[in-house]
């Protein structure tokens, strides 16, 4: 949901973007779990959301052969600031651990941790409940130049990017008694920092949800994306390409409280990625704010 930027910040981005999906007006229906497009609040409403994520990425490509795990958390605040307009800010945290092979064949551990890049988003309900254009910008608030005894971390392993990124897109929604559908198209423009020019990315996402029993909703979501190869002197020799993920999930609502969980499974991913699965758990609460 939150328009963040490119796959070098993938785990953090997914964590924070997923929180921003708040289906309000909205809370009357189930909402997407992993889509990166935000929905809008009604004027005066405020929502606070948090999401945790665990990225499991073993058996990376040679020569490093990285076994990587990322624990992420993100906090988002969304405000229905104007009629049909929602403003959102998201701050992520990431703890990245990687076991890598070093020249000589031994393995060593690398560890990056800290606050990531904050994302600011605006979404407008052009056609309330049906069409929502959105834009976002990611500010380089996170540490992006960490190093250890082996040297500087590769850019994708940093918790921040050091670059300004921008995203624009549109979300289409359709509700029916049987199933709720949301589809989003978006484009992210990657910025440049530290001799690393992040590739742009275009995404298409679809979320289908159906009530299972009581407040419990089942979701099946998918994302197809294509990312341009990274550029610059510190870009890997091979990067970019197509990604296709599917994510089954569950969502439950109790009054103004919503909890949700999903597992993203990549079916196709670029040569420089080796994610096996991403697990997400989220919680959000809506405040009417006297509106």
């Amino acid at each position: 949901m939150v328009p963040t930027m490119h796959d070098r910040q993938e785990p953090v981005r997914r964590a924070l973007t997923a929180i921003l999906v708040l289906a309000i007006p909205a809370l009357a229906r189930a909402t997407p779990i992993t889509l990166e497009a935000p929905l809008v609040l009604e004027a005066g409403q405020v929502a606070v959301a948090t999401q945790g994520s665990l990225v499991w990425a073993p058996d990376g490509p040679a020569p490093e052969g990285a076994d990587e795990q990322i624990v992420g958390a993100a906090l988002a605040v969304m405000v229905g600031a104007l009629p049909r307009t929602t403003l959102a800010a998201t701050v992520p945290f990431a703890d990245k651990r990687s076991s890598i092979q070093v020249p000589g064949g031994e393995r060593e551990e690398r560890h990056a941790r800290g606050i990531g890049d904050a994302t600011f988003t605006a979404a407008v309900a052009a056609v309330p409940g049906a069409v929502v254009p959105f834009v976002g910008v990611k500010a380089p608030t996170g540490s992006s130049d960490q190093a250890d005894s082996l040297g500087r971390f590769p850019q994708r392993f940093q918790v921040g990017t050091g670059a300004w990124d921008a995203t624009a897109g549109v979300l289409f929604s359709r509700c029916s008694p049987l199933i709720d559908l949301d589809a989003a198209l978006s484009y992210s423009l990657g910025g440049t920092a530290h001799d690393f020019d992040a590739g742009d990315e275009v995404r298409g996402e679809l979320s289908a949800r159906r009530r299972l029993a009581g407040p419990l909703v089942g979701a099946l979501e998918t994302r197809i994306a294509w990312r341009q190869a990274d550029g610059g002197a510190l870009a890997p020799a091979e990067s970019g390409g197509a990604t296709w993920t599917v994510a089954p999930g569950l969502q439950g609502r109790l009054g103004r409280h919503t909890i949700e969980a999903a597992v993203e499974i990549p079916l196709v991913q670029p040569v420089d990625r080796h994610v096996s699965a991403v697990a997400r758990v989220g919680y959000r609460v809506l405040f009417e704010g006297g509106a």
Partner: protein, 161 residues
């Protein structure tokens, strides 16, 4: 600082595939044989695009931050006059401190008169500053039946955009 480099993976062009364990035991002995001059070259590119290594060799960044060089080998099989089965290849890189970490690959079958390898991933460092601008001495040897071919090359490590 001197780094001897490890060839982590020998990709194989044509039918020169790494052997299943135990298939080519005789090739792993590393016994010295008759030297064949000029049958092995270190360079870049494969097939008709192979070129002997020049004054520089480009550093390549892996997706997880490892800096490596990716030379290729060309073998003149007609000069070797062997069957091309169960071929042993040793490759190493020395950046000046004498440490040697040779990597050995056993290839099942090399075919054609001139065989070139896929780029070899010679892993150097995670620290660009530790390798950029240094002089790398690359050495390779190939053993098949009772003959041996060797090659050496020297190049400066560069990082180009």
């Amino acid at each position: 600082v001197r780094l001897a480099l490890l060839l982590l993976c020998v990709g194989c062009a044509g039918s020169g595939e790494p052997m299943p364990p135990g298939t080519c035991d005789e090739a792993s002995a590393g016994a010295a044989g008759d030297l064949v001059e000029g049958a092995l070259s270190i360079g870049t590119g494969s097939g008709d695009d192979f070129r002997p290594l020049g004054a520089t060799i480009e550093l390549v960044l892996g997706s997880q931050g490892g800096w490596m060089v990716t030379p290729t080998l060309e073998v003149d099989l007609s000069a070797m006059a062997t069957d091309g089965d169960c071929v042993r290849i040793d490759v190493s890189v020395d950046l000046g401190d004498g440490q040697q970490l040779p990597y050995v690959a056993i290839l099942s079958e090399l075919v054609g008169e001139r065989w070139t390898s896929e780029p070899l991933q010679l892993f150097l460092s995670y620290d660009l500053a530790a390798v950029e601008g240094r002089t790398a001495n690359l050495s390779a040897s190939l053993e098949d039946d009772d003959v041996v071919a060797t090659a050496e090359a020297t190049a400066i490590l560069t990082n180009q955009d």
